[in-house]
Subunit: 263 residues, 2 copies
DNA sequence: AGATATTTGTTCGTATGTATT
DNA sequence: TAATACATACGAACAAATATC
């Protein structure tokens, strides 16, 4: 089917190509071996792995293979690679960002709706709010109130409209960051990330939402008041109302946008 | 000290190495660019990416860089790479197992407690149960009831004790698998995985739990009844009671095990 | 079943930029 | 400032795998 094989490979002279070619010595295996090596030697976050040259000798692999294996570990956020003389691969704690990104990949092809996300937010954010009592400080609350000034007024432009939506989400991210329950904290932040990435949300955020902004602002004020009084149930209640209010408006907007889009 | 294998170096003529060196156009960036490219072109699972040669031209990178980027995507389970004609990088659905594993890495160094996990289960499992109404079939319910026969009787041995705990969790995993909300479904299954991996749970599962077994069994029966009647609120209520009951017992056991351990 | 073409997999050599000393 | 060590990147050749004829 293809072009005539007129051109032979004209490089037979040296023939010093691959040597071992031991079948399936894939980078993946090397990565697993490195992980085991890390565990065996009880390396802690911050410790440095041997440099490439030594890894090449120790594991009997080429530089490219070693590099790919290290990249694999970096992709899992188990190591971070720095350049320079003190460079190399360092054992690292898995970062929130990376974990979020990797989990986001799982939902990449799933069809997530606003309804799906708010079904969880309604359950989790009130619990989170209640759990903050006794943990959150006056300074934290002041910082949150400071954040709210970015959307305590009607937006002057479409850009500001969108910015205000993200500032509101940042409010909730900050709250989640204060939560002492690591799982709950992660879940709430991940839901916010999903919201940010939903393309339907981008369309919604472009539309004027005076009700959403004003309503959200007042619910958040009630929430902060409850937190100041260290009243867990009042905090839970305020957040519950806040979430249900937001869900209803967002779902209505979703339907509206879809209606326009399908027209 | 290099000691090449006898052969001379017959590559003097070309000898042109790196050219661009535009800052640090790392493989990471290429991987991100490829991800964007996948989204822009609306590639679906099963679709093939351009082959290495074309990617080299299109993104102006060397083969090694392209390969590392592809390996990065492969490590994230976004593509799978095959050799041979019609080979190349194929867009792939991220498997539940892999996503769970990667997220598990994030919580590996965090100190998760039973309380943390049940704080979420209490919120999410009732919601999941309610959402099953209208989706779950009679066959599904029959299958679940079949599953329950594995712990409808007191265990005869410590092995069976442990087996019954895992069978109960399998019941909840099956429920979660039926949930039409992908985020809620994942969350519930991930929480169960965390429970399974908690070392404290292993100790608890070794101890006799007649109350936990009998109580859980009866709550699950009530749940299935509600689902048969398609009564969402009754299902939610049954699951809520079930979770609170389990949490109280598990936390008591956790305290007990810790007390013994610290003695 | 076997030959062939296509595509990735592996290794080597080399060049370059940069951060540390 | 110069030397050096190191990661980063490029290119070429060969090896292995595999679909197609």
């Amino acid at each position: 089917m293809k072009g005539p094989p007129g051109e032979k490979k004209p490089i037979p002279k040296t023939a010093r190509g691959a040597t071992s070619a031991r079948g399936r010595n894939r980078p993946r295996e090397l990565a697993e071996a490195l992980k085991d090596w890390i565990a065996e030697n009880a390396l802690q976050p911050g410790d440095r792995l041997p440099q490439e040259k030594e890894l090449i000798e120790r594991f009997k692999a080429s530089r490219g293979t070693v590099r790919e294996a290290l990249k694999l570990l970096e992709a899992q956020d188990l190591v971070s690679i720095r350049t320079g003389p003190r460079g190399g691969a360092y054992v690292k704690d898995v970062s929130l960002e990376r974990a979020t990104e990797l989990l986001g990949n799982y939902f990449f092809f799933k069809n997530i709706t606003i309804h799906d996300i708010y079904a969880l937010r309604i359950q989790l954010e009130p619990e989170l709010a209640a759990g903050l009592v006794g943990v959150i400080t006056e300074q934290d609350i002041d910082r949150l109130q400071q954040l709210m000034t970015r959307y305590d007024h009607p937006p002057q432009s479409q850009d500001e409209e969108r910015e205000q939506r993200f500032a509101e989400l940042a409010f909730h991210e900050t709250l989640a960051g204060l939560c002492p329950n690591p799982v709950l904290s992660f879940a709430c932040r991940f839901l916010i990330r999903l919201l940010k990435e939903l393309t339907i949300c981008h369309r919604i955020y472009e539309r004027p939402q005076p009700e959403l902004r004003a309503g959200g602002h007042s619910y958040q004020l009630r929430l902060l008041e409850a937190l100041r009084k260290e009243d867990a149930e009042a905090a839970r209640n305020a957040m519950d109302k806040h979430m249900r209010f937001a869900r209803d408006l967002m779902e209505a907007q979703e339907a509206e946008v879809l209606r326009q889009f399908l027209r």
